[in-house]
């Protein structure tokens, strides 16, 4: 009776994976015309829950009602037929297909139900785009489109199915501020016809866009609240069960001499980039996606060829020929995509931790188990990696813990400079704070840190100094006392061609 008014209601959803209770009798209600945010730390069960709604997992226990009707969803197709669409965090596109081909994948318009009609499909997509007020190239392979356009394609794909409910899993994680605003306008437009479940780590965005918030923690539902009736701090406290008073544990450290300096570096789209990093200093690099920060990091680390300019490391001129050379010198990079570049997900924690330092734990050609265990155990303790044992497979750890393994893997050795490229992207507030703590600890021991992040509050909270990059060059430098979100942003998005 009562559930009649909800477009979707879930009752007592429990999901048990081998060894883990991912969801523990979660109740959830979604009203028509609302944007309902789902928040929680990594591993809280948001993804599992949304995947159950989208038919990718079957719940171990519990019931789902649509408009008061009990439904069973065992397959993504079933969910689609019931009107539940999902835009995933990972892009699920075929890279060499164009947008239309991707949007219509498995929904193709055909003649004689066999032969494709690309002309008709393109027309339909163009109409749909016009209706919701977006526009981008339809003929290029999607791999040549930017992340926001790829996401538009994903959204169009879901809209094509005329869903009544759309689930967005971390939709803004690859978008710039501007693109996020465009995306939010789109959401507000869509809201008239569909109910939206919005999963995000970025609480500012949750507060900006959502009508109500459901907080999950450790697989349990903590509360559902109206967004206008709470503030961020209250939500964070629900998420982590402990009060985070000061999110950024930055402490003043004594900053030493210059440890790393780049002079007039040019490489690829970088041109004439000069910067300095002092001992014990956290140097933030701000900028939009594509501004050249990652390229700079990779150039210093020896992954890209330095075309012009000099790198001065510990007082001597050094050519960053290869990562091997730089690692030997004591410069480390924690890459943007830990899953791809930083970790072997199939291997266990111990093996991941010891792989860069195998020489140290080997006698002759044989790995010495005891040594390896000891070294790994040290890293686990030092960086507070939460695991049940060293044999745990890294792929099964939460994002925050994976990131700690990456850091631990590099910092078993004495580093001089550490580059962190979007090291906190996609991990939850609690884990972020622990990464910050590690950063502070490292800075205290005199390590210089290059901290690349698109999360401006975190950059401001943690850095001693911030460089702003824009289109391959440094456009501004700010000392800590002159940090201002607005000014930094201005320099990051200013059209450099215009001046």
């Amino acid at each position: 009776m009562d559930n009649k008014k909800y477009i979707l209601e879930a009752k007592g959803i429990t999901k048990i994976f081998p060894g883990v209770k991912a969801l523990d009798s979660v109740d959830f209600q979604l009203n028509k015309g609302e944007i309902h945010a789902l928040v929680g730390e990594n591993g809280a069960g948001k993804s599992t829950f949304s995947k159950i709604l989208a038919g990718m997992y079957t719940p171990t226990e519990g019931e789902i009602f649509l408009n008061g009707q009990r439904v069973n969803i065992h397959h993504p197709l079933q969910a689609i037929n019931l009107g539940i669409g999902m835009v995933h965090q990972e892009r699920n596109l075929v890279p060499f297909f164009n947008a239309v081909e991707n949007i219509y994948l498995n929904q193709e318009i055909t003649s004689q139900s066999i032969f494709l009609r690309p002309d008709l499909m393109k027309k339909e997509v163009a109409q749909l785009m016009q209706k919701i007020g977006i526009n981008f190239e339809l003929d290029k392979p999607v791999s040549e489109l930017g992340p926001s356009k790829q996401q538009m394609a994903e959204i169009l794909r879901v809209l094509l199915l005329k869903p009544k409910i759309i689930i967005f899993d971390e939709p803004t994680s690859s978008l710039t501020k501007n693109e996020t605003q465009i995306f939010f306008e789109l959401l507000n437009n869509l809201k008239k016809d569909v109910a939206i479940i919005f999963i995000s780590h970025r609480l500012d965005e949750v507060f900006e866009i959502s009508d109500c918030i459901t907080v999950l923690r450790d697989g349990k539902k903590i509360n559902t609240v109206k967004t206008c009736q709470v503030n961020q701090e209250e939500v964070i406290n629900m998420m982590v069960a402990r009060e985070i008073k000061d999110l950024y544990p930055k402490t003043p450290v004594s900053i030493g001499g210059v440890v790393l300096e780049g002079r007039n570096i040019s490489a690829g789209k970088l041109h004439d980039v000069s910067f300095k990093v002092h001992k014990g200093e956290i140097v933030g690099f701000s900028g939009m996606v594509g501004s050249g920060r990652t390229e700079l990091a990779e150039t210093i680390f020896g992954l890209r060829r330095l075309e012009a300019g000099e790198v001065i490391f510990k007082g001597k001129n050094i050519v960053p020929k290869s990562p091997r050379v730089m690692i030997k010198e004591g410069l480390y990079l924690i890459p943007e995509d830990r899953r791809v570049e930083g970790l072997n997900l199939q291997m266990n924690v111990k093996e991941n931790l010891s792989v860069v330092h195998l020489e140290k734990v080997c006698s002759g050609m044989f790995v010495r188990k005891g040594q390896e265990n000891k070294v790994a155990q040290d890293a686990v303790e030092k960086f507070d990696i939460r695991i049940t044992n060293l044999q745990q497979i890294v792929g099964n750890l939460s994002g925050g813990n994976q990131q700690k393994v990456v850091i631990g893997k590099w910092l078993m050795e004495k580093a001089e400079v550490l580059i962190m490229d979007e090291a906190t992207a996609g991990i939850d507030v609690g884990a972020k704070r622990e990464i910050y703590k590690i950063m502070v600890k490292l800075a205290e021991t005199g390590i210089g840190i290059i901290f690349i992040s698109s999360d401006l509050p975190e950059l401001i909270g943690m850095s001693d100094r911030i460089y702003v990059m824009n289109e391959g060059t440094i456009t501004a430098e700010f000392p800590r006392e002159r940090f201002s979100q607005q000014t930094i942003l201005q320099y990051a998005i200013k059209d450099t061609n215009g001046k």
Binding site: H75, P76, L77, I80, H88, E90, R91, N92, L93, V94, P95, F96, F97, E101, N102, L105, N106, Q107, E108, T110, I114, F115, L116, R157
Partner: protein
């Protein structure tokens, strides 16, 4: 500025390098052996490549799906042996070919089922299958060729012609043409490309990926056995080892095709051009009397070169 022109040149070569090298090969052989460009030789060249073309067409279906089929050569060999055995046992031509094609389909189907249901890499499954097939082959032949009186219809299949176009060429081109329509114009082809490009995306779109992966390997088995039947007919006998040499050349053709026009993905038109290149090489080298062992070396180098070309383009 000079850097940019160099980049454009690189781009040009990686896009059209395959076509240019085909062109250069033809010019080279025409100069070295004037007979090379004669109508007679061109027709015989086409006849030679028709079997490779059939097998490569099948392999392209697999490679579009990002699957391998290493068993095609041996399935072709077994098919040739089987069809001749059946004919000598007195079966009707039509029935014999039908049975053999069904057996080819069955081998492909088994490959597909093992790959999808037991989730074993197609590389391993088809590698094992090729040995199994060779074993079956030797079980039937005891390693000896199968000779005898075959019905004239069977011999015509490999040696006859229509308006002076050999039957094998017609068969290969028809299969190729149907394949192109299937992969480029139908939704099923679209699904196969989608699976090869991003299997997760395909699954999330509700495509029954297993079904199409099985289909790809099955088509490959079918094409291989068609090739085997035509081969036996051309040879006029069932040779146990006749199919063994094809597998590597097939891979070379598909990779050449992937590199052509910078398309970066396997496609049947490209495969066909790859087939022509291999054919021109093999025919031309024979014409200018290069010892056969060099041919193997060159074929190996072509395969590596073709794959290297696709890698360069992906960068």
């Amino acid at each position: 500025m000079p850097k940019q022109t160099r980049f454009k040149m690189n781009n040009f070569f990686s896009k059209y390098g395959v076509l240019i090298s085909l062109f250069l090969l033809i010019i080279f052989f025409s100069i070295k052996a004037p007979r090379f460009m004669s109508i007679k030789n061109i027709i015989s060249l086409l006849r030679q490549i028709s079997i490779l073309c059939l097998l490569s067409t099948g392999l392209t279906f697999c490679m579009i799906l990002n699957e391998f089929d290493l068993s095609i050569g041996e399935v072709a060999g077994l098919s040739g042996v089987l069809v001749t055995t059946l004919l000598l046992a007195g079966y009707n031509l039509f029935i014999s070919i039908l049975i053999v094609l069904l057996i080819g389909i069955t081998f492909g189907l088994i490959n597909g089922l093992i790959v999808t249901k037991l989730k074993i890499d197609s590389f391993i499954v088809t590698l094992a299958m090729s040995t199994i097939t060779l074993g079956c082959n030797y079980f039937i032949t005891r390693g000896k060729p199968i000779y005898g009186e075959f019905p004239p219809g069977f011999i015509a299949l490999g040696r006859g012609d229509l308006f002076s176009i050999p039957y094998p060429v017609i068969i290969a081109l028809v299969v190729l043409f149907l394949g192109i329509i299937f992969t480029k114009k139908t939704k099923y082809g679209r699904y196969m490309y989608a699976i090869g490009g991003n299997i997760i995306a395909a699954q999330h779109s509700g495509i029954t990926t297993d079904r199409y992966r099985i289909l790809g390997l099955t088509l490959s088995g079918l094409c291989a056995s068609m090739g085997g039947v035509v081969l036996a007919s051309r040879l006029g006998s069932g040779q146990p080892t006749a199919g063994s040499g094809f597998m590597m050349n097939c891979f070379a053709t598909v990779f050449l095709g992937t590199a052509i026009f910078g398309s970066k993905i396997p496609n049947l038109l490209g495969t066909f051009i790859g087939v022509v290149i291999i054919g021109v090489l093999s025919n031309g080298l024979t014409m200018i009397a290069v010892p056969y062992y060099y041919e193997y070396i060159i074929e190996g180098l072509v395969l590596i070169g073709a794959v290297a070309l696709t890698k360069i383009q992906k960068k």
